[in-house]
Symmetry: C2
Subunit: 184 residues, 2 copies
């Protein structure tokens, strides 16, 4: 899976053949088909593994008895914090969804929507508790939070001028300022 | 170009052949090659046209004698405001850059960076004038602004519950709250 992710990032899913994958690994096509029915099945596995891990980690954040502000910060850290590890898989996840079979794409889209709806529910809880501004549109703000975090996968170079931890803190600060009442 | 954009959005650049494009138009390959040397030349034209138009429109915003706050709002409106028209081309622009020849990709990346640096310069001006918070990292905030706006191309359905104009206003409000001093 890791080798295929590297190839998909580099050449794109369409332009990568099963032959390319097995060549890069020095194995035969037979061993590929032992693990996966098709290239699409492999792509589905990449998508599923990525979103299921995110959802599990989000769930453990949501279970904390913490203020909405804290939960939202933790979710931002979750998304940005392990970009080193998850960067390439996220790259494939964001870009190659359209190459899944319709039933598979639908299943992944539903799980992605759940992740976003959990962010929305944190925002709604924070609006109710007075932590966040009453006039916010929680659905659109959930998308904005994902915009800030997911877009960073497009440009951020781990090991550059900022660490992922520093970036997560900058963006938590930006987002919280964006949604908290002006009068503190 | 429009027909090819529709095909690239649907099937991806790699999976779309020149034959697919001319078939969809009911013309011959000869007429394709009359306009473009190759599929890559067409892709480059899509990228160039998109970023050059954005830069020209950004330039006219920057020339106004307006506060930084106003300029930034206008840039957000520029990016979100004509998603109906620009959605498909932006989709290709964001996703297929890696299929350009290295020299072409480099030229486009440089122009993209200019657009972002202009946002950064508006942020720096606003920090200096006291409109924006002093502790901001203008480079990272410029990326965040692009994250909020560009990500919306991934999910926003024009004609749905919000108009693009309403979305632009929501996001301008979110971004400005995120960067303006807490005490008004």
């Amino acid at each position: 899976m890791q080798q295929s992710i590297a190839l998909f990032v580099d050449k794109g899913y369409s332009a990568t053949s099963i032959q390319d994958i097995v060549d890069a690994l020095g194995v035969t096509k037979g061993s590929f088909y032992y693990h996966y029915k098709s290239k699409e099945a492999l792509l589905m596995d990449i998508h599923r593994q990525y979103i299921e891990e995110l959802l599990a980690r989000q769930q453990s954040i949501l279970q904390d008895a913490a203020p909405a502000k804290e939960k939202l910060s933790e979710i931002v850290r979750l998304l940005i914090g392990d970009m080193e590890k998850q960067g390439p898989i996220a790259n494939v996840y964001f870009r190659e969804l359209r190459h899944l079979k319709e039933e598979n794409a639908k299943a992944i889209r539903a799980r992605r929507a759940e992740f976003r709806e959990q962010i929305e529910s944190v925002l709604i809880a924070g609006i109710k508790s007075g932590e966040f501004r009453r006039e916010l549109n929680p659905k659109m703000i959930a998308f904005a939070v994902l915009g800030v975090t997911n877009w960073s996968y497009q440009w951020f170079q781990p090991g550059g001028e900022l660490s992922t931890g520093e970036l997560a803190e900058l963006y938590t600060d930006f987002i919280l300022h964006g949604i908290m009442p002006t009068q503190k």
